[in-house]
Symmetry: C2
Subunit: 564 residues, 2 copies
């Protein structure tokens, strides 16, 4: 360990992205340390995750977003906070930082330990250069204030949100809340890229049902701007979207210039490399928050994770270690995230299919639909839960979408991922059950049971997006379901409760695929067929409920028009 003077002089660059958390923790660990926070912006600590919700008015008071003031930091913690102080240079030899204040005054400060928390900044796509004064990003209090100020001066009827990530969707929801017609433009063929496409489709259906104009696989060609105002967004396919307001949320990138110029080492993903105590390649300099690479426990590699939870936890670790030379090591991240989109929530943890493929990790999936609490109790709502697991049974990730109980299921899986558990562990969990809260077999158990059956080939699952043309398809839904719902071409229809009597109606010259609405009855049917000697029996994963999610969402789809 490098020598730590006592009391140490601790300088923290940036308050928001884990910096304030580091400062408070440093004080608790060392009553005598000299602690200074240098923050470029006007506020040392604000709730950046709350910005979209004040935009839409769901959080009424702007004051609620201000977590702590410089006065509180001084009175309570004897921490000096200097807002409007931008650090422009680190002298690692002299152990000083220099910079300039908002008023243009130079400053210089010595440190024994330096904690960098400069966060991230929104990626600024080239088309924004053509933007008028009604084109914004939403990342800081200033950004939010500017949008609100503009909307007050110029009432907006139509807005275009570019980018369908977490923040983008929150902004869409909140603008609709203000009765603004929203168009959502996304370069990828789906919203929410951390989700697999069929899970994202559930969110897309909700957006369409709420009247959001959805443009997927759509690049912005340019912004049509006149008199400092952008009046339309032109897409690469020539389509134009008339608009009174544009908000771009096209991702963020770590703010590492200061660190790079100081020669600190970066990782492969472009974030700062840190060890278990948040120390950079210079052990006197720590870094936390969106600017660093975290160790992803399921991916088993380092990755950017610009989220508030990891930033806060890293701040605690860095603050303690800088103040007293010791700390509990920083934990892993699992990529856990959640977003509310109108009445739905969508959440994920661990790896999705793309991440598995990109990393060469062999995986299988099980998707179930189940009610979020006992089906016989009033208010039960359907949720869709997908888990990913290795052929060994090791759990790899999960995604869930539904109106209720999404965060709970994903938190349970995130906990299991942290501990390196398997689908058998999931199946055996002893979870809360009373009719208002869950089911004797929780959706978590149901997903694990499906995965266990799949791996035991009892029987195997067929992926929802497989090619079924070589299968003999047996649809075991009831006659009334068949009459009003889509079915797969060429399917033989035998309702489950008649299957035992009608086995002789079936040939076994092809592999067989059993199908029902969700995969539950089809599992019973597949077990029966396999048990009666039929060969190559598969159960269609997620049943017909997943089939309707195969093709990209588009306005005017059946799902849209069938919603109230």
């Amino acid at each position: 360990m490098i020598d730590l003077p006592n009391p140490p002089r601790i300088v923290i660059v940036g308050g928001v992205a884990g910096g304030a958390s580091a400062a408070a923790r440093a004080r608790r660990c060392n009553a005598d340390a000299e602690i200074t926070v240098l923050e470029k912006g006007p506020a040392v600590s604000f709730a950046n995750c709350g910005l979209p919700y004040h935009l839409g008015g769901e959080i009424e008071s702007r004051d609620k977003l201000i977590v702590a003031t410089p006065e509180l930091f001084w009175n309570r913690f004897r921490i000096r906070v200097k807002t409007g102080h931008e650090v422009t240079h680190i002298d690692r030899q002299a152990c000083t930082v220099t910079g300039r204040t908002r008023e243009g005054k130079d400053f210089k400060l010595p440190y024994d330990r330096l904690i960098l928390a400069t966060g991230s900044e929104p990626y600024r796509p080239p088309f924004m250069e053509d933007g008028g004064q009604n084109v914004f990003q939403l990342w800081t209090l200033d950004d939010m204030d500017a949008i609100l100020d503009y909307m007050q001066r110029r009432p907006c009827k139509k807005a275009t949100v570019i980018g369908a990530g977490f923040v983008g969707l929150e902004v869409v929801e909140q603008l609709q809340r203000r009765e603004i017609e929203v168009s959502l433009v996304e370069r990828l063929p789906q919203v929410l890229s951390p989700l697999d496409s069929e899970m994202a489709r559930l969110v897309e259906h909700e957006l369409l049902a709420r009247g959001v104009q959805l443009h997927l696989s759509a690049s912005v060609e340019r912004l049509l701007t006149d008199n400092q105002r952008t009046s339309a967004v032109e897409l690469a396919d020539g389509q134009t979207i008339a608009t009174d307001l544009v908000i771009a949320g096209t991702g963020v990138r770590p703010r590492t210039q200061l660190a790079r110029e100081a020669g600190l080492e970066l990782g492969q993903s472009g974030g700062l490399l840190i060890n278990d105590y948040c120390q950079t390649s210079d052990p006197k300099i720590y870094a936390v928050g969106d600017m660093v690479e975290y160790y992803h426990g399921t991916l088993q590699s380092r990755t950017l994770m610009p989220l508030a939870g990891p930033a806060n936890r890293a701040g605690r670790v860095a603050g303690a270690h800088a103040a007293c030379g010791t700390a509990k090591p920083l934990g892993q991240v699992q990529g856990t995230a959640i977003v509310r989109v109108f009445e739905l929530s969508a959440a994920c943890t661990g790896l999705n299919e793309r991440a598995c493929r990109q990393s060469g990790i062999e995986y299988r999936t099980a998707t179930i639909q189940a009610t979020h609490h006992a089906g016989y109790f009033p208010g039960a709502q359907l949720l869709t839960l997908k888990i990913l697991y290795a052929p060994s049974g090791k759990l790899l990730g999960a995604q869930a979408v539904g109106p209720e109980g999404i965060d709970k299921r994903i938190d349970v899986v995130a906990t299991m991922l942290h501990m390196g558990g398997t689908i058998d562990d999931l199946a055996n969990l002893d979870l809360c059950y009373a009719p208002p809260f869950g089911a004797a077999k929780d959706p978590i158990h149901m997903a694990a049971f499906v995965a266990q059956n799949d791996l035991a080939m009892a029987p195997r699952l067929a992926a929802f997006d497989a090619d079924f043309s070589d299968f003999q398809i047996v649809d075991v839904r009831s006659a009334s379901e068949l009459s009003r719902l889509p079915h797969l071409p060429g399917a033989t229809h035998i309702p489950l409760d008649e299957l035992s009597d009608r086995l002789h109606d079936l040939q076994n010259d092809k592999p067989m695929l059993t199908v029902c609405h969700s995969g539950k009855r089809a599992h019973v049917a597949a077990c029966l067929l396999q048990g009666k000697g039929f060969q190559g029996v598969h159960n269609l994963s997620g049943g017909m409920s997943l089939q309707r999610l195969r093709s990209p969402s588009a306005p005017g789809t059946e799902e849209e028009s069938s919603k109230p």
Copy 2:
């Protein structure tokens, strides 16, 4: 492994308590097995956890409680269900069961494998002998029908519920829902014995606020009955409670007579002893549900656990193993349970303080109050979360009470207990966060941080129910809080934000105790004092918010009258 004929004849005794689950699983694992379910009662599978909710009308239709009919079992699974069939004898030599039908006909059935799922029955306290036709227990559909029938014939204004366990509290809530005045009588000094007393107190406050007449530490002496109707409950202290209806919920005991008479081995707690595949001491005979002992993972011993979740999971294991000789082993239970009591939920998992003491397990506790989602987001509700942990950091249990988000936190802890995790694991979890769902530092993290600080003596926690007479007490709440809220006798008052300036006001001739509302500011104060060289500094666990929960609840307490 003992020889398993194919197809095996599988006989299942009892449908409700895991039996139906075993039967369906047996069929899925073996398409040819002959499967018969013998059920004494009129329904093979009903939602017994839903009974209180139909009593109160929250579940409107009785049909919703019927999970599956004998016809469905036959059509779908080719499982023969015989209701009204009581098994009275097992001949283990001949491998037969004999019994009598509801109509008085004898029957005899051979088995290759036998699965016992006879469940539990409510304990019938002696005072019930004096009870009139308006004195009930609530365990079966028949019980529920009888209560509803009686209430329809004789409108009830006042009811007395005896026993404040999970079912008792559900019944209290549901009777109040029918605008019946409810008295609740409990032998112990608290409701909900799986909770520690101060956590139970939160539930007691809710009951009092809802107008429930609470009689704790109260034994029933006798029921005053005239003309077949009980008109009052007389307590041991002479008090009488006038009543139109009595429902006793004083616990259940495993129904093991049949198994005992067959010479099957019992465990220490009186439940049937089973192995990892639910086999009893006779490997051809399985047992599942409330009648068996489960392995409690945290307690590391076998215990009764009359809950639906374990019964269902055990049914799956037994069904598979009986049908094909192999199964995934049965998982551990953690004693996870939850109940809704009006606007509150209360849940627990793992060990409570009493269980630790009884088992000689050394433990410490950390209790926090936090909002269930970001405090700045509308609708944030306070929850109280208590965790128990060993001096090694190993997690031992948790309890939570609050209006929202209780099941989620307890499920996360239950998952951690299943995996044998520590408070450090809890502190490092990567959980869902967006303002509508949680906080960057979730209540789970906050509790783990408090526990980490306690074990690191940074600084130590003082138990909420310790004797503080030898401490110098420093109350760091604001002047406005002090003026309207209770405080500890002899406390010195220094608001936290003035503490740095006023250290010279404090002597250090005694160990010191810092106090605030919840323990958060007091932690900051304790760190400062300890850092400035004060000796023996402790932070009062849970702050003054737990102090008000020290003494047993009684009608007319401050909490009651201050509620709207």
